[in-house]
Amino acid sequence: MMNRRQFCKNALIIAGGVSLPLAALELFDPKRLLAEKSSKGDRRWVFLVDIDKCVGCGFCVKACKIENEVPYEAKVSRTWVERYVITKKGETLIDSPNAARDGFTSTKIDQNLEGMKEVTEGEIAKAFFVPKLCNQCENPPCVQVCPVGATYQTADGVVLVDREWCIGCGYCIMGCPYGVRFFHPVYQVAEKCNFCYHRLAKGMTSACVDACPFGARRIGNLRDPEDPVTKIITTERVNVLKEQYGTNPQVFYLGMTMEVK
């Protein structure tokens, strides 16, 4: 007959064993940790955006939506273009109507609830367009916060989402300082730009790069010193977005000014 002490002891052992998920043990696999942390393959995809060349036509957004099957009418997009209008008074006005899918068809600035704001040409000090997309951060906060490991970084630096495993908690959306993530309206899981990874795997370039008529968007391999994109990044004055978050973004901008958010 089991006494109470023995019963409690056994019960504790069983409870402990049951509550310890097998996956927890996997965390300590040193081989995998090493592979994840120090893999320095021969490829690291990076992006180069030349702000001076962008005219805000929105072809990139259109191409992206079609290529990646993000519903055309849905008010979310893997990539978008922002218009910046800085007035002579120092006011910064920004908009991106429909993620600039159809370009910027009006000179009025879309201020959402505040309506369309008219700015006359005489008031404008400077204006430019800034394409945005996922920064494929070297230190991605979205990967860090995913509770189930459904979003992960590939060896060549691209952050992907496993649609079969994402639980749709939205923590990654909250964790991204750049607002590039959203819930896919059809699959109901986290969605983001992945530089068209399926195309890269076939030796093609991203759909937006292909669609840009002005060469404002380019993709390259940072590990290849002969890559023209790498040459520009290493020799010219490029900048990244929101450096202060320590995410180490890998989308580089040429001609970016302080007004860019």
Partner: protein
């Protein structure tokens, strides 16, 4: 329609993909966990620190904490876009994420509360099982007998010595439960506090603020529930007495003001702590005035002024503070105060969760949350008023069920 589009209003420049993704259910999540943790800490004040005056409410709040427990992850479940995949958190936890450990922390805490309850009520289970075995002839009696027999887990020994060791176990579990309860809730604070992309959330004070306000809300809910339940019992029994002419015992004369007064004192201590920390955070932010302060200032002092300063600090903190401090506390005043405290804590959760999404990551625009009221679809139910009410009402249903087997009032001391 995109998730979040229905209830998000955008103003000025907001990134195209930004919406209020974390809505009312994520407000409910820390609110409910807070109540769980608070109720448990209140019961531990008696079991561990021997605050004798809290004896009656201790048993009550322990059972209540257990009833609240399953309702803490409920809002998370309702909020998930893929609720059927919820078990992935347990199957493949990704431990760099603050949410990944939720299952483990939560289950540890659940096991502690469950075992403490068992030790508290074991004597009662045995007595009931024996009673029912002796008199039980009907099917209901036999079922009840089987239930109580099962609940004893085969430990039939109710000798003085054995009951004494039960008490020791209760004391140990209650003590072990305090840090775990605080961890459970501090951890909810960490989930928010560690989001570096959110200027309002990111502060190391967040877990501590959450713990203090959790205890405040837990105690407040226990006070209200205690008063209401005592009143209901009083009403039922006075009707019975009128019919049968039996005298009513002291325990059935409604809530005991002495218990309420001492409980309210603990509430005040934690309330002062919570407010001090929150104000420290606010002062620090405005004094250091880093890049994000300009947009935060506009949210805090302009857009959310009523929600923060009138509803949360004013009605939710200051008014109950005065109500509790004024001499000659009455049951009615205590109930009003506790209700206002609950409102204050709820508003605090709201102002953190929704307030944290009230501005764009671009710092150039704002978002407004319009909570869906009428549930026209599953989504507007889950993330709307009725979903929240469902979560808020659930603990009472469970409490009623649990109190059938674990009586919370006038039990012979085991």
């Amino acid at each position: 329609m995109v998730h979040g589009e229905i209830w998000t209003l955008k103003e000025l420049f907001v990134y195209p993909n930004e919406y209020i993704y974390w809505s009312i259910q994520i407000v409910m999540y820390p609110f409910m966990t807070g109540l769980v943790a608070g109720a448990f800490v209140l019961s531990s004040l008696y079991h561990v620190f021997g605050v004798k005056q809290l004896k009656e409410i201790a048993r009550f709040s322990l059972v209540f904490s257990f009833a609240l427990l399953p309702c803490a992850p409920l809002p998370l479940l309702l909020h998930l876009q893929q609720p059927l995949r919820n078990h992935h958190v347990l199957m493949t936890p990704h431990f760099t994420s603050a949410i990944a450990a939720f299952g483990i922390v939560f289950m540890t805490y659940g096991m502690i509360v469950a075992s403490e309850l068992w030790f508290v009520f074991r004597g009662h289970f045995v007595t009931r099982a024996i009673e029912l075995k002796e008199k039980g002839t009907g099917i209901a009696d036999r079922l009840a007998c089987a239930l109580f027999t099962l609940l004893t887990l085969g430990a039939w020994d109710v000798s003085e010595e054995s009951l004494h060791s039960d008490e020791k176990a209760v004391k140990f579990l209650a003590a072990a439960g305090i840090p775990v309860a605080c961890f459970l809730h501090g951890y909810a604070g960490f989930i928010f506090g560690s989001v570096k992309a959110n200027a309002l959330w990111m502060t190391p004070l967040m877990p501590v603020i959450f713990i203090c306000s959790a205890i405040v809300s837990g105690i407040a809910l226990c006070i209200i529930s205690y008063i209401v339940v005592a009143k209901l019992r009083n009403l039922v029994h006075s009707r019975l007495r009128r019919n049968t002419g039996l005298p009513v015992s002291k325990a059935l004369q409604g809530a005991d003001i002495a218990i309420v007064i001492i409980t309210a004192r603990y509430l005040l201590i934690f309330l002062v702590l919570a407010i001090s920390l929150e104000l420290l955070d606010l002062i620090f932010r405005s004094y250091t005035a880093v890049k994000s302060w300009e947009i935060l200032r506009r949210v805090i002092y302009e857009r959310d002024f009523v929600k923060i300063f009138i509803l949360q600090y004013g009605l939710g903190n200051l008014v109950p503070f005065i109500l509790f401090l004024l001499p000659r506390l009455t049951i009615r005043r205590a109930a009003t105060g506790a209700l206002l405290v609950l409102l204050g804590v709820f508003m605090m959760r709201w102002n953190v969760v929704i307030g944290g999404q009230a501005f764009s990551g671009s710092f150039a625009g704002f978002m407004d949350y319009r909570m869906p009221i009428i549930p026209v679809s599953l989504e507007t139910f889950r993330e709307g008023l009725f979903g929240a009410l469902f979560v808020a009402g659930m603990p009472y249903v469970l409490f009623w069920i649990f109190s059938r087997v674990m009586p919370v009032f006038d039990v012979k001391e085991a």
